[in-house]
Amino acid sequence: MLSRELVAASTIPLVLSILREGESYGYALIQRVQALSDGKIGWTEGMLYPVLHWLEAEGLVASEWREVETGRKRKYYRLKPKGNQALITEREQWLTVHQTLTKLWKTQPHLT
């Protein structure tokens, strides 16, 4: 399991990256993260919604209520151009950390 700091820091790039594939809604976002991380990124599901609302308030995503085939309503989120820009920045930063750590760990192959 991830530390709480890492969970909080990685939520926004995860959400933005999934929305870049196409619009989605809260439950589906969570399912996707769980599947991709083999259940290692475990969110308290309800806590995703304040994050989505924050992203919307910042103008990174847009939302829309829509009726689905079962007659229920769902709130769909999609990435806005500003969100795409934010994702590019996030990606650069995460890759920097990732590459630095990878280089270090190459020279120290036996971490115990």
Binding site: R4, A8, Q31, E45, M47, V51, H53, K73
Partner: protein, 274 residues
């Protein structure tokens, strides 16, 4: 403010008659009264629970098990609330302001109605039932007016309490949604405004009419005595009202600033980075 876990234990008592809609209503109950969650947030959370239940049912779990699991995965209300509070601050305050304004208007109407009723009951009783009218002359022992004035303010408080309890029970027993009621009323703004103006006019006419009737039906010393009683009773009533409001404010403040249980935030980390 929400405390503890959602009210799911009621639905666990009889597994044969589990009603998902009822269970969701019970679960929404405490969250609905939270100042930090908008109606829309609740609708979104409910949609999530329903999606979650449907997906879990496909795995062969019973509807009740699915519901319990779905709400547990969603997180405890006490943990969710502060997260929503972080993003809903402005709307929460606007919402509070709206309710304060509505509350003040409603309180104004309720006190005006109860005051008129009190005067009708007490002053009408003095005449109709031939109760002894307090006869005090200026400069004489005016403390004799305190007894009828106290009686009058007691009647006033009782009438007021009666109206409040009546309105409250009406709302509760019909399970009316106040938000929904307001939304429906706002769909006809002209009618609403006209109604409000008419009500205010009617209430503002009541006072002068009462005074006129009192002046016409009584001798000058009686009018003076009744006026003195009314003024004293007003004073006593205001005192009781102020005490009530102070107590209410303290009670609300204590609820608002009650510390969150640390255990829930420990096990359910925030996803929202500062």
């Amino acid at each position: 403010m929400v405390d503890g876990t959602p009210n799911t234990h009621q639905t666990m008592e009889d597994p044969t008659s589990f009603d998902l809609n009822q269970a969701i209503r019970n679960w929404r109950g405490p969250l609905r009264h939270s100042a930090h969650l908008r109606e829309e947030d609740l609708a979104e959370l409910e949609a999530h629970v329903r999606d979650s239940v449907t997906a879990l049912q496909a795995k062969g779990l019973s509807e009740q098990e699915c519901f319990l699991l779905a709400t547990r995965r969603l997180g405890k209300p006490a943990a969710l609330e502060p997260e929503f509070a972080k993003v809903n601050r402005a709307e929460v305050w606007l919402n509070r302001l709206l309710w304060m304004v509505i509350g003040l208007q409603v309180w104004g109407v309720i006190t005006a109605v109860s005051k008129s009723l009190t005067n009708a009951v007490v002053v009408g009783g003095w005449w109709g039932l031939g109760l002894p009218t307090p006869s005090i002359q200026w400069g004489s022992n005016w403390s004799r007016a305190v007894v009828p004035a106290t009686f009058m303010s007691l009647v006033h408080l009782l009438v007021l309490g009666g109206i409040i309890v009546g309105v409250w029970r009406l709302i509760r027993c019909k399970e009316m949604d106040v938000n929904d009621l307001l939304a429906r009323a706002l769909r006809r703004p002209v009618l609403l405004a006209a109604g409000a103006v008419l009500l205010l006019l009617a209430l503002s006419v009541v006072g002068p009419v009462e005074q006129m009737l009192i002046v016409r039906g009584s001798s000058p010393p009686e009018v003076g005595a009744i006026s003195l009683c009314q003024a004293l009773s007003g004073l006593l009533f205001r005192f009781a009202e102020t005490l009530g409001f102070v107590a209410l404010t303290i009670a609300l403040l204590r609820r608002r600033f009650r510390p969150m249980s640390s255990a829930s935030s420990e096990s359910q980390p925030s996803l929202l980075h500062p």
